[in-house]
Subunit: 315 residues, 4 copies
């Protein structure tokens, strides 16, 4: 039944990597972040994680929380040891208060760890000497690691693109077309953008449910400069898998429009990638996008209204 | 009328990304720096800016001004707090002068921030201890950030090319050609240079003004080694959009010759990009470039005169 | 004789770089790590080694062992010199114990080296002053070097793939095919994977033994997203070099199936590479892989069982 | 006359970037390091130099000499100022010796500059305070710069290849061929090597001397793995520019065989490039290379003799 909804003339020969047997594959192909919706198991957690990938993907807030927590934990550990040894070994004033003594030990540790030196050569207590030398060494290594991580985070190629929340089924040259739009949101200069749009759909074939993938032909598959918004258009022609879809089919059939957009970031000479996935029920049937850029008043500039990226009117 | 000026045989099928409706697009396509002449609005300033892109693009002078200002501001803030707490907590000599006291606090802060240690474990004042620990931690993070930014600035792929100020319409094999030239100015070794030249022009079509983009065919679109100057030549043949242009048309018609030059920087194995845009009134009609390199006196070397890049004679 | 085992219709025109004369080439083409099985000689050790390649390839454990050893050795050297000069020059308390004096000197050196300052301006002993200045300078340089090495190690493109331990000769559409599988094991997002599979084999030609290399045609040579396992399939058709192989031939003939897999790491926008080599006696004749992914219980996710990558059943 | 020496059937259509008019171009096209033999002039020295390219290309010895010199010069400058102010301001012991006083000031500066802190808050002398704050700030910036430069030097893609000193004109399948060889010398893993060989020659055309460039067709233009030596072969067929060359022509005619070799460094996933240029009088006529690799004694390994790269015998 579902099989008949799909245009039999549309060609599906993509090796998508998501497998063909839909009874083995559960849920959406890509999750909301555009990452594969797959959970790995069978080997240990530490073999399954790349810390560098993890730390570079984190939001800035979480990243700094981890850095600060690391700083506090290290100093609490060393501070506790210094406290147990006795604060007088590093020349602190005796306070007759355990709490104050602990804080003195903690802040002494901070000073050693933060590459600040410690002005201490205590002949009596070799253990304290070793501890200080180890903590200072650890501090230097941590500085090196954090420097590397920060640079890794800064320099990670990022596309800074915004996609419209919905794809539309719009009138197009007397026919229909699936459209969505994308715009650059930051002070970057993206050129030679290329987009590949794939339809992933679960359908019946030879009596069993299979995943099928169709690459959707586009009006333009590339654009010279991604300066304004780019409306990507898939005309629903006779060779489109959507050719025989009714309005209800978009709501009822489970499928995803998967988008991979590559562009060249002029400033760093590297390629940036952005992914997006619209499920079929995110396709608005019978609507068209409203313009989102306009000549500035003086006439010498163009203004791109990023808040209008989701503006459409029904037709 | 303008429509007739453009050679109807010239093909325009480029999806430039600047849109087709010229009544929406204002001013030049690219600004003087080769960046799109578009202003973004509709989302907050902080969502619209990539600080890393901003800081890497800044001139060296402005970048160091920002770094120094940051150093001063941080130390003024911490210095003020130290001053308010009282300078005696970090062992300063009492001066009975508020100005001197403030400076003592300021310079104490400098010392803590610049990863210099502070030799202070004050049992009385936990607040000062915390402040010092925080400032030292901040100092380390700032060192890591500045290291990353400096390396990012150093290693950013840059082309170091100089384009001639004008394009020329020169005689060429009994016909005419649009020419401009470009030369490497620094101690880099650029190879496999490729250039794409596009004409962007505003013209009338079906009664409304549209932006049209034409890729201009070139005599050579690539060069093996960018060691001397490269004169890029677009012959004005029957398929050129300039075929029916008169001398006045270059002055009166609004259009831009947009150049994208990619080359391979041998030393870093990366691709560098340079952009340039000549408006049509920057085309000098009836002139030809004078040679800008010459065999050195001894005969064993070649000298490239970079100050002659704009030298031409009228013909 | 061996010559007849190889399908004469299979084409071998690859310039593999391993040379044609098999009597000069010894052992496997690639060693277990996928690196060429070649020993270089004839030039000095230091000309033959790239320290950066060496230090970036090391396991984390060995790398930190080297860093720690370097820290200890430097401080033992400087510590010894400080000890010989006499510990009193840097203000240490006299201990009347040679061992304690040495440790004082060692830990003083640690403090100077670990960018910690030394609070010493000794007018009497210029040699100590110089030593401290040199060691502090060395400490800074070491910090810079270790920062660079750590970042180099972090950011080195790595594929994090696991190949099945064996290749299988499985039934395939009424015929046979050589199959192996590969799966991503970490939290990376690999796309556009491409694989090239080459058979390297020693055979007789014109009376002498030669190395021959055949590129094996595959069912799919690329996959859009490497999210689940990918089973790479070489159908044994009439044009395959394996067409006339018997079961025993796989055990007796010396040959290697060499795999090069390239993929695009979305997160860093770079290309990662993985290599693997199966010798022919690692091909299991008459077996097929068992599925290694399954829809999760809730149905909204897919689970990839990485411990099942080597699971097959005989057929 | 020279014109007749060149095979008129050989095609020369390369836009080499060295210009066509040989009376303007002096000496070899590329110098001994493979860089263009061009001197730039006409703009200021500082506009003509990219310091980053300069510092990354320097030999390690010269680079560290510059770093050490910078360290010494900065400390001599600050040391001199501290000396002029008077050493007592930073708590030095009075020595009644100008030389010792200067050294005290110098080493105090070293300590401040090397991120070591200075333990000084002098209420009397604001100028010394500022000086220390500035020098400490400068020290931190220098650390950041040197870290970036060192990493830039480490991570710069380098090919580590050795070319034979001479190209040979050897017998080849009953005909002749120009051959040279190249071998990897370090612990890198280079794959997918590609070579482009160009002949640059000065010849007479239409009565004036011109530079002509011919791309030389090769037996193999690429090799899968650069593990052993690679002998690059240009067969001298009817379409080769060398077809009508006599033995003397190689000695008398001025020309260069320019080689560009690109390979993929597996370990860093980047492209490395190596250049080499043989002048025609470096072609040995009538010789062939001797083998430079051999099966190891045990038979399980292959040994590449890098000292034999220049070994050939006359034929």
């Amino acid at each position: 039944m579902l099989r008949q909804k799909l245009n039999p003339r549309a060609k599906s020969e993509i090796n998508s990597g998501f497998g063909a047997n839909s009874s083995n594959y559960g849920g959406r192909f890509l999750d909301s972040r555009g990452l594969p919706n797959v959970k790995k198991t069978g080997i240990g957690f530490f073999q399954r994680i790349s810390w560098y990938h993890f730390l570079l993907q984190l939001s800035s807030g979480k990243f700094f929380l981890i850095v600060i927590s690391f700083y506090l934990v290290v100093n609490m550990v060393f501070g506790s040891i210094f406290y147990l040894i006795g604060t007088q070994v590093f020349g602190a004033i005796e306070t007759y208060s355990q709490v104050l003594d602990y804080w003195e030990a903690f802040f002494f540790s901070c000073q050693v760890f933060s590459v600040g030196g410690y002005g201490l050569v205590s002949p009596e207590n070799m253990f304290v000497n070793s501890l200080c030398a180890i903590e200072a060494f650890l501090g230097l290594l941590s500085l090196a690691v954090v420097t590397g991580l920060l640079y890794g985070r800064f320099s990670r190629p990022k596309a800074y693109l915004k996609f419209s929340n919905n794809a539309l089924l719009s009138p197009y040259h007397g026919n229909k077309a699936i459209m969505f739009r994308v715009a650059p949101i930051k002070n970057t200069s993206l050129t030679n953008a290329e987009v590949i749009v794939t339809l992933g759909i679960i359908t019946e074939e030879d009596g069993k449910m299979v995943n099928k993938f169709y690459q959707l032909p586009l009006e333009y598959e590339s654009v010279g400069s991604l300066s304004l918004n780019w409306t990507v258009v898939h005309p629903v022609t006779e060779s489109s898998p959507f050719y025989v879809f009714s309005k209800e089919d978009y709501r009822n059939i489970k499928g995803e429009i998967i988008i991979v957009l590559k562009a060249f970031d002029d400033m760093f000479s590297n390629t940036v990638i952005s992914r997006k996935s619209y499920s079929l029920d995110e396709v608005v049937v019978g609507a068209k996008f409203l313009p989102m850029y306009k000549r500035a008043l003086g006439g010498e500039r163009t203004i791109l209204y990023l808040d209008k990226i989701n503006s459409y009117e029904e037709v």
